[in-house]
Symmetry: C3
Subunit: 461 residues, 3 copies
């Protein structure tokens, strides 16, 4: 790229050796990848290894020495060896005294050991300053340069200066350090890369459970019932018709479940007359996964939207439409426009569209980069005002859609209600209670409580 | 979680007391929440309070002392009391001399006081170093740990070191400090949490105004006119038909309004022969809310897209289609394929789809996390080149859609044009003027001006 | 805004002069904009200029002096002049000794000079500490305050303290400094603002090439063939019918090409028995642009979805439907529901919907702000597990759609296969080889290799 690279090379030694030497214990996969990246970023790297035999996999510009000699060359030592072998470090305690030891280890499962690896290391070498870090980055990401996933490197440690030194290295490698506090946070940091969407588990399992239940319910009523009593084989309903009944039902229930814990919290606070007592644990957990519940609901609503839009393209629908038109033509008559039907059809579609539109807006606002750019007042306006409006519109959409069948006996096959009737229970309950809660007399008291007022203030003497 | 927690606890006192003690004046809601979070992050916290009586709401590990004693224990004092009570601090001026005072107060409305709370505090206690901060975080967010909204904490202050100390605490609490400069920025920071989408107000009001106007215009022409002259009750047009006429019109006008200020700016610069004179205020404001205008336009365009896609599902449309087919069948004839119609219908749909596709692309690019990852050249390429292409495609979509009716007298009910004709005025004007501006002779001059060239360079002597 | 502004003004001088004076050489466009912004942020600014004549464009609060006097007033000097004039700085070498020089220059094209401007400056003035920075920000963005594009300011330099000083200024201006390491990175930083989506070039050109090829292929088979042999003019197919055949084909091929390099990599690693030898260059580049390939595929898939959904609104489709119904009505018969057809139609739609749904999910996960919030395990779960599921669903969608025509001779016009048959080659190959690779015996070996195992470990002696 540069033609007078000789010049540049002449300049480099004078300048880049301002970076402090870093020592890496262990020449395994991650140790090598990290060393390579550090050399690229201008750090002199020295490896501490049992064998003085140099693997050709070790970066060329790095030195390889015995552990003790390597440690003496640097103020920061990265411990790229596995926890099982930490005890071999104890004889080196004198050499490592006062040095910054960076624990980059990961475990194979959550809470594998009673204490975190970094705390274990700190106990083994009480004279050294242990900092946890780098465990959230993969060797492959460092090697390939494709840091598509998180660039965040969580760092924790008890010594503030040691932590600062490590965070400077993190920054120099093009990553983003995040200070997580004292070494007590090491367990959390070590568990982080082992997690698989922990906040999503409850919403996903709940929605899968609801989906399975309603799917079987629909198969029974729409396919089996029709087959038994009307001798019609509508098994192909499994592909689109039934999913398109189940998706809106699950979406509406999940959306209502997003707002239900807020209702519970308000009732509990009103009953207790204070906001300073902790909510029950289940309510706390429920409130923390409301965003995920809402996004799963949005996914189901989106599927419902697309399933609905492809309706005119289905062979079954074309056939049904043709049949209807042909029978009218053969009977030589044209049905007049039913104005009530036109109103119902158009308004249920319009309500659904507007509800879904607000729902998508809520989803966009929950993108991290968008929610980082709004203040609390705006966030609450969107998530609470617009959220309730979306819930009202979607509930109204369902009511208008099925309203005419509520009193029709033919809608109750095997004396069971249709699933859209079941789907209305939770949203209507939420909306009714919320309507009570925004009555001025109730709302005023709730606002007072949330601003710190207490019915019976308690002071310990 | 950890079994040998006794060990860890033994370690903690030695290590985490490296954090400096923080003093909090005031044991109100926010003071308690902040203290709690700080203790969690390893800061020793001491409360300064009028009453030595200790509420059981105060975090257990915190000390509670009188104001003076508490202040002496810490270098940083967080003033968690309301502005009205600031004057009680004046007797403590001696104790607070040289200390860092963190003003975390918020007001109830924008610009409530002539000077910001932090500046008022600095005037009361000129010997202390006042730093503004934490006012953008809510007590509830700190308590619950759900920092879904902004994690950004704006910090300002005149003393650089004091500010640095506060920013370190912010970081330690897992929040992101943003240095906003000297204490002069305090007013802005205090106004921030009171804002409700300030940049969105003009675009939203404008679009609501346009929507209301066009809606009434359509109601008059499509429902009232039809009812009077054709005795048809098409009141259900309110639900879908009319919204689907209004949405694309508003979207197209707003999209044109995104590019209109750029046209004005170019004309003004060409006329003045310099880029160094400020634009009129209205133009400046208009240019700053172009992104919001564009996103509102995208929202209307999306509604138009969905309203259009549900068309075949409407009872009215099914009825109209059936009627047409039945009348053909009863007359025993089949209309041949009208090739021109097929061309017009397909090309207007294709133009709309491509225009909308580019529009969505522009929307995605304006997401903060995406626009942060492109450089200026790329951002301008997308927003200007692709943006104009979207405007051209959408204008062409409207022209092809309604082209055949321009010269038909039946399209002018009550001698008024249809609204899609009105919608074409601004976009066509923008496109025509832009076409003139990219003529080489004009464009060359404009480029010179934008690179700093001036027709009559002025130097003050 | 503030009424007692006199008070505030009295306070300001005492406080904001803690910011160090900054000197700017050059009073051009960018120098003025930067100076203006710095004064706003509380920095005293002094301009170094050839002429003592003061342009009224220079910010009012700034001083203008000769170069030497200006330089003496500040520790940081911003070099806002063009590279061609750098040599006029050599006489000032003594004055500039030990000062921090900030090179903010940009070039007109990539790699315009053999060495970067900043390195050239450092060679001219070896006694000064050169830092590269600010070149990614535009003067217009600084002036207007609309920093919609990147707020990131890349900074590099050999002197750590000098770099730190510059990064502090960047932060104070409300921008985000990103430390890119030593001055060797200057060339990369200078090239950055000249780039136009470098990672997108290959995916875009590839997709445009594929689109052009398949479009012409379709025009030949669907329009020209029909015109010659059936005398039907279906030229309007160009608008929607053919795009809606080309888009899914290109989308499916591109999606398969996202997973193909991973297959190649696995085969190469298995063959070599090690992961420590570099992949061929073309494979490396291919792997780095997989995200872009996937997003282009998503764009084509979205166009396909919308083109499909507008189908019932097309004049041609309405005409075809009417014709079919009328001919049935005139023949006085109703076709019964074809259950196989209903199954095929519904399941191909359902497969497409689910595949597209997963595809959109992958797209959302690749938004920078979302992918920054997932850990590696989660990112790989989404991109690999869900990605393959999307590929399987989309391939099945295509197979079910066209399955019945594979053996029908009428599908082979001019003995050429239809394009959906061509589109299945790559995805099916990828899925078959992947199926072999997840056989336990193969997968186990691959996992070993990826964890660092080698068939023939090599050590240099």
């Amino acid at each position: 790229m540069t033609k007078n690279s000789s010049n540049i090379m002449a300049l480099t030694p004078n300048t880049s050796n301002k970076r402090e030497t870093v020592c890496i214990f262990g020449t395994g996969d991650f140790g090598r990848a990290l060393g390579h990246k550090m050399i690229q970023s201008g750090y002199p790297v020295v490896y501490g290894s049992r064998s003085t035999q140099i693997s050709n996999l070790i970066p060329k510009d790095a030195e390889v020495l015995g552990h003790a000699e390597a440690a003496q060359k640097a103020a920061i030592i990265i411990i790229a060896i596995q926890r099982q072998h930490y005890n071999f470090l104890t004889p080196l305690a004198e050499v490592l005294r006062g040095k910054v030891l960076v624990d980059i280890s990961n475990n194979l499962k959550l809470n594998q050991y009673p204490e975190s690896n970094a705390e274990y290391l700190a106990q083994l070498l009480p004279g050294s300053k242990v900092v946890k870090g780098f465990n959230t980055v993969s060797a492959w990401a460092l090697q390939s340069g494709t840091l598509d996933a998180s660039r965040q490197v969580f760092v924790c440690g008890d010594d503030v200066e040691a932590k600062q030194m490590v965070m400077d290295i993190v920054r120099a490698l093009g990553l983003t350090p995040v200070d997580k506090g004292s070494l007590l946070a090491a367990q959390e940091i070590e568990n982080y890369p082992l997690q698989l969407f922990p906040m999503w588990k409850f919403p996903l399992f709940l929605s899968l459970g609801l989906t399975a239940f309603f799917f079987l319910y629909c198969v029974a009523l729409d396919i089996i019932y029709t087959y038994i009593y009307e001798k019609n084989n509508f098994s192909f309903f499994i592909a689109i018709t039934i999913p398109n009944r189940v998706c809106p039902v699950v979406a509406l229930i999940l959306l209502a479940l997003v707002y239900l814990p807020g209702i519970f919290a308000a009732i509990i606070q009103l009953y207790r007359g204070t906001k300073y007592r902790r909510f029950p644990d289940w309510l706390d957990k429920w409130m923390l996964c409301r965003k995920q519940l809402g996004l799963v609901a949005l996914a189901f609503a989106s599927l419902h939207a697309v399933f609905t839009l492809v309706t005119p393209m289905r062979a079954f629908v074309s056939w049904r439409t043709s049949k209807g038109i042909i029978s009218q033509a053969l009977n030589n008559k044209t049905e007049p426009l039913n104005n009530t039907n036109a109103w119902l059809s158009d308004s249920y579609l319009a309500l659904g569209i507007l509800g879904y539109f607000l729902f998508v807006l809520l989803g966009i606002t929950s993108l991290p980069s968008v929610s980082n750019n709004v203040n609390w007042r705006e966030f609450r306006f969107v998530q609470s005002k617009l959220g309730y409006l979306a819930l009202i519109l979607c509930t109204a959409h369902t009511l208008v859609y099925g309203g005419k069948w509520f009193l029709s006996p033919s809608a109750y096959k095997w004396y069971l209600p249709n699933i859209y009737m079941l789907s209305l229970v939770v949203p209507c309950a939420v909306l009714v209670v919320k309507f009570v809660l925004i009555f001025p007399c109730v709302d005023k008291r709730l606002t007072q409580i949330r601003q710190g007022w207490e019915r019976k203030p308690k002071y310990s003497e």
